[in-house]
Amino acid sequence: MAIEANGKTYETDEEGYLSNLNDWEPEVATAMAAAEDCELTQEHWDIINFLREYYEEYQIAPAVRVLTKAVGKRLGKEKGNSKYLYELFPYGPGKQACKYAGLPKPTGCV
């Protein structure tokens, strides 16, 4: 599979995750979101950027529980709950947000 963004073609796996992490550009996230009828707001970007930073540091995509806790710490307690994250990413914050961020599916996420 592949996704078009920025006039380029990016290879993805059968579930739509980017094959090569280093290919990622913000436009890839926008295109992936558009394909799922989702328009990215600043709130979405806060999560996407957080995920990319987390991966850069620890080399893993965080589990939802870890993401929730970390978002609460970084972006404020009112955002550190699964309701907030599921409103932003209705297909699941782990699955959907990690995909937009160009990361592999979180370990333990089915």
């Binding site: 893993i60 589990a63 529980r65 710490k73 370990t107």
Partner: protein
Amino acid sequence: MAKKFMYINRKAPYGTIYALESLEVVLIGAAFDQDVSLAFIGDGVYQLTKGQNTKGIGQKSFSPVYMALGDYDVNKIYVEKESLEERGLTLDDLQHLVWEDEDEDYAEKDSIRLVSRSELSDVLDDQDVVLSF
């Protein structure tokens, strides 16, 4: 009720797949809200050494993943003193693993507990489930 799970790590990293497989199981298992501890004995203590750079061997380094364990509420990491000494290592040669205590305004606390073989034996005796890698 949460059960006490202990993962025992006995192998050096990269030469075999055990260390990485153990980490994966620990991370997946962490989703089940159990009382998890890790023990590093024998060559397993080499998994925690600082400054691992795998560029030359063309493998992904999983060394940074140990730093994330605190986020997964895995904050009881037992390192056997005798195993370190046999290998000429001290705690200073290992990564400084910490966890943040949410109840104390995210205060950083040490995850590594240096224990003697007999102390570890007591900890082991106290577990409900032991998995060895």
